[in-house]
Each structure stands twice: as structure tokens, then as C-alpha cells.
Amino acid sequence: MTTVTNDGAGAGPEAHIRAPRRATRFTGGRIASHAVMALMTVYFLLPFWWLLVAATKDNDGLFGSAPLWFADENNFFDNLSLLFSQENGVYLKWLGNSALYSVVSGVGATAIAALAGYAFAKLRFPGRNVLFAALLGLIMVPATALVLPTYLLMSEVGLTDTIWAVILPSLLNPFGVYLLRVYAHDSVPDAMLEAARIDGAGELRVFRSVALPAMRPALVTVLLFTMVATWNNFFLPLVMLSDNTLFPLTVGLRTWYMSATIGNGGPALFNVIVVGALVAIVPLIVAFLLLQRYWRGGLTIGALK
């Protein structure tokens, strides 16, 4: 975790010392490595450029004009209004559903994982090691292999086709527990826990006022990752939901794409799908750019222990 923070400001002075020397010694290598990076950048950004351009075209322009450049007229705002009026504005509903599912699952999963991660790291209780070993094994159980059985169980209790069928399974985040356990182990000082206990604080109070503040960076990370995972989730809602007003964006866009591609008289047009895709990823890209530090922080906790 400490390594993340020193990569911005901390690398500065060192870079100043090293850069001139390297520039003279490995000029050829520098050019080659930057050329490789430039190529890869084009590869990673090409689909986004295409999406941005395509979102300004009407359905004919999408098929008739050069794929990587703008058509003569700009239809972006027409496309937007078409997107939000399609099927009585169901897209807005999907947007709201995605937000609801990811916020509720994110907050819930993080709270549950924080309690468990802290307990595994700092509280002594019988069965702790066995349970934690089991948890590590269960991280390996593939999530998608559980989707169908979970659907069958949910339908036995009549919960399919409700928001709970998507939210409840998303609350389980074994990897989040693992990350928070690792983080709490190193960053929550035992002496402070001890001091709070001696002062007469109960375990819940100790957790709230000592452990939680110390764990904040990791909590933000787990929250972010769970929210994005739920926002991006597809298999679970695809299986659980059949009422299209409950769909998240991913499942909704797929139904439009299906009917447009197969062409079975569905109302969806490709330009609407393209704009829908753009609108769906904009919040994620913005959040990603704003919260970069936490993303990389989360990956570092996982990679460096």
C-alpha cells in the first residue's frame, strides 16, 4: 500500500536524477519502448474513439460513412433523445437499476466484509483459522458456476425476478474479506485497540472508532470494486430477472442488441444501442479517472502481500 503513494510525488526527485543519464545512454531503447507504448495505446483506445464517433451518427450514417471519422451531420442529440424515449424511456429505468444495485450491493458488501476482515485480523476467537482457511479455498469457487444453482434456490423461495435476487448474492465478497483482513492486519495498531479496551470501550465501539478509520483507504477500494463489479455484472441479472423494468444496463442493452441483430421486428436501432453504450460507460470512466488512486491501491493490496 505504501508503494502506491510514492509513485506520484515520491518518484519526482529520483526521476530528475536518473532521467538525463538514461537519456544519453539508452536513447535507442527509449524510442523503441515509447513506440511500443504508443502502439498499445492506440489498441486500447481505438474502440472508445469508434464509440465516440459512432454516437454522432444516425442509423444510416453508422453503416454508410467511414467508421473512424464523423459523418457530415451530427446526430448525437437526436440519438440521445431517441435513447431516452425508446420503449417509454426504459433506458433511464435501467440506468437507475444499475445504480441502485451497485450502490446497495457495494455498501452492504463492504460493511459485511469490513466486519469479517477486521475480526479475522484482530480478534481471537475459536474457529478463526479454520474459517479463514475455508474462506481462502472458497475464493477459488467460480462465481459463474454458482449462478444457475443460486437461481434454482431463489426460485424455490420465490425471490427470482425481484431486486433481491440481484442484490443479495452480490453482498457476498470473499475476496473483499481477504483484502480487508490483509489490510487491517498491517494498518490497525494493536496498541490502540488495547488502549480503547482498557478505557472500557466495547468491541463494537473499538471497531467503529479505532479500526474503521484506520482501514478507510482499503474500505474505499473494496466499495469501489464491488460497485463496479455489480454495475458490470451480467450473468446473474440475466438469469434472475425476466421483467425488463428490473434490468440493469448490461442486460437491457443486450436485449436491444439481440433484437436489432436478429432483426425480428424489434424496435431497437443500432444508433440507439451505440449511444446507450456510451452513456453507460461514461459514469464508470469518470469515476475511474477521479478515483484512480484507490483502484491501483486495491490491486496493490491483492498483489503485494
Binding site: P47, A116, R128, F132, P142, L148, L171, I281, A303
Partner: protein, 324 residues
């Protein structure tokens, strides 16, 4: 993976002692603290259990129960005349002998054998490059590579579907290839996965590189090692734990391959069949043909393969593994 020796010895030697401070010295204060805390251990144990309970409940309800349930129904067969009939391992026998299922498994294995090294190789190269370069451009590159990860797989696949299409994308004009034919679609799918996850893996590897003490490079440089030698002989071995970790996650992901083929399926249903991957097959068995028992057997078999596979891989490389 867990390192059982360590966890058992710590509990055996100091049952009510302080937390996991195996590295901390056993100072007098600490011992006094442990002694003072001894009467409170009961309360702490209770709190520990309470704190873990919500998670444990979820674990049971949404992980163990579905697993057990799916195993149970996978042992039954539903017939029109008799209803649910206990069928022993018939569904498994059927799956193992089912050419459609076997082709799907084989396809996923081939896919993984080709795509995993390509993607991890790309991520490894990119991580070494951004670790070495400190220009403004390398920061931009780091961002560009990671952005695809933030995109939902469904939307990433939709985008590439448009790009592959001869009508809406530039790729066919450039290469004169049909990216969605039976012979090429697996590579096209591989490209989508690579595009989406290479940057994520790169960041993990880069983070690991950041953790390597810089003095090592300095002394290697004094010994006459060039940047390429340092990258291959020092940096790569130092981050092998992270490489193992991302490889495991990739393998787990590959075996569960589902969203990308399902989204691209309407573009060429002849090439991407209903049994294209085991997960797609299980999905269609359940929801197109209502074969829940057979679908459960396939899911369970797949889960077992993923679990055993990743566990063996982890065990075989456990010294290098980062999951300790």
C-alpha cells in the same frame, strides 16, 4: 495456500495471547498486556463470532447451499411419467460422454492455452515498460491500458462486435478478413478478452514491480547489467508471485467464459453454437431446454474443474504464490 503450519503453531503455543504479532518481539509490556487481557478473551471471542456472522451466513446461503443443492439435483433425472427420479451419476456420465460438452471444454482449453500467455505476456511487457519509463506519456499509457477494465464486458463486447462487422467497423476493410466466421471467431473473442484485461493485469504486475527495492537495480547496474538484462533476470523473478496470481485469475476466468460468446452469438449463430463453452451450454440447457438436472451437473463439473485446477496450480507454485 494458507500456510497451515504457521496458523496452527501460533494457536498452539499461545492460545489466549495477543493477535497475529508473530514478528513482534515478546516484550514484557506485551506479555503484561496479554495477561491483563486474559479474562476478556471470552468477550473477544463472542465479538469475533458476531462480526463474522453476517459474512458466514452469506457464505452458507449463497455459496455452500447452492453448491450442495446443485449437487443434489444433478443426481436426479426429471421424467414426465415418474417426476424426479434418483439417477446416481447418470447426468455426469452423460456429460462426460456428450460430444457437444466435450467440444466446448476442449475449445475453452485451447482458448486458454493461446490467450492466457498472449495477454499475460502483453501485460508483463507493458508493466516493465512503464516501470522503466518515467515520462508523461508513460502515465497516459498506464491510464489508457486500464480504462477497458472499467467497461462492462457486455459493452466491451458490443463495441468489438461493431468493430468486427464489415458494415460498421474499420477492421474488415483493413485486412479483408471476416472476423466472425467459424475459423476466426475464437481469435476475435480472444482479442476482446485481451483488450479488456491486459491493462488490469499490467497494473497488478506494475504494482508488484513498485514493491521491489530499487537498490537491487543499482547494484546490478554497477555489475554491468543493461536494462533488458535487469528486466529479465531481476525484475521478472522478483514479481513471479504476482505473475502467478494474475495467471490463476485468468485461468479461472477462461474456464467460465460466457458473456463474450453469448453477446456475439446473434452475429453468427452457426459459428457460436449453444454449446460453445461449458457455461454457455449449461445456460442454454437450463433456460432454452429446461434441463435443470443436466445443467446442474455441467455447472458442478465445471466448478469442480475450476476449483481443482486453480488449487493444483496454486499448490504447485505455492512458494511463488501471492495468496498466502
Amino acid at each position: 495456500m494458507t500456510d497451515p503450519d504457521r496458523s496452527t503453531t501460533t494457536t498452539r503455543e499461545e492460545p489466549p495471547g495477543p493477535g497475529d504479532q508473530d514478528r513482534a518481539a515478546d516484550t514484557p509490556q506485551r506479555r503484561a498486556g496479554a495477561a491483563r487481557r486474559r479474562p476478556r478473551v471470552g468477550r473477544q471471542a463472542l465479538a469475533g463470532w458476531l462480526f463474522v456472522t453476517p459474512f458466514a451466513v452469506l457464505l452458507v446461503v449463497f455459496l455452500l447451499l447452492p453448491m450442495a443443492y446443485s449437487f443434489k439435483i444433478s443426481l436426479y433425472r426429471s421424467t414426465l411419467v415418474e417426476g424426479e427420479v434418483f439417477a446416481y451419476l447418470d447426468n455426469y456420465r452423460q456429460a462426460l460422454g456428450d460430444p457437444e460438452f466435450r467440444r466446448g471444454v476442449w475449445r475453452v482449453i485451447v482458448f486458454g492455452l493461446v490467450q492466457t500467455p498472449v495477454m499475460i505476456g502483453l501485460a508483463w511487457l507493458a508493466a516493465l515498460l512503464i516501470d522503466e519509463a518515467t515520462s508523461r506519456f508513460s502515465r497516459l499509457f498506464r491510464l489508457a491500458a486500464f480504462v477497458p477494465y472499467a467497461v462492462p464486458v457486455v459493452i466491451g463486447t458490443l463495441m468489438w462486435g461493431f468493430l468486427y462487422s464489415p458494415n460498421t467497423g474499420p477492421l474488415s476493410a483493413l485486412t479483408d478478413l471476416n472476423f466472425l466466421s467459424g475459423g476466426t471467431v475464437l481469435f476475435s473473442l480472444g482479442n476482446i478478452v485481451t483488450w479488456q484485461w491486459a491493462g488490469y493485469n499490467m497494473i497488478v504486475l506494475y504494482a508488484a514491480l513498485q514493491g521491489v527495492p530499487r537498490e537491487i537495480y543499482e547494484s546490478a547496474r554497477i555489475d554491468g547489467a543493461g536494462p533488458v538484462q535487469i528486466a529479465l533476470r531481476i525484475k521478472t523473478p522478483m514479481i513471479s508471485a504476482a505473475i502467478v496470481l494474475v495467471t490463476i485469475f485468468t485461468i479461472i476466468g477462461t474456464l467460465q467464459f460466457f458473456t463474450e460468446p453469448l453477446i456475439l452469438q446473434p452475429l453468427n449463430p452457426g459459428a457460436i453454437t449453444n454449446s460453445y463453452t461449458p457455461n454457455v451450454y449449461a445456460f442454454h440447457q437450463a433456460f432454452s431446454f429446461q434441463q435443470y438436472n443436466y445443467s446442474a451437473a455441467i455447472s458442478f463439473l465445471l466448478g469442480l474443474v475450476v476449483f481443482v485446477g486453480s488449487y493444483i496450480f496454486l499448490f504447485a507454485t505455492r512458494r511463488r504464490s501471492a495468496l498466502r
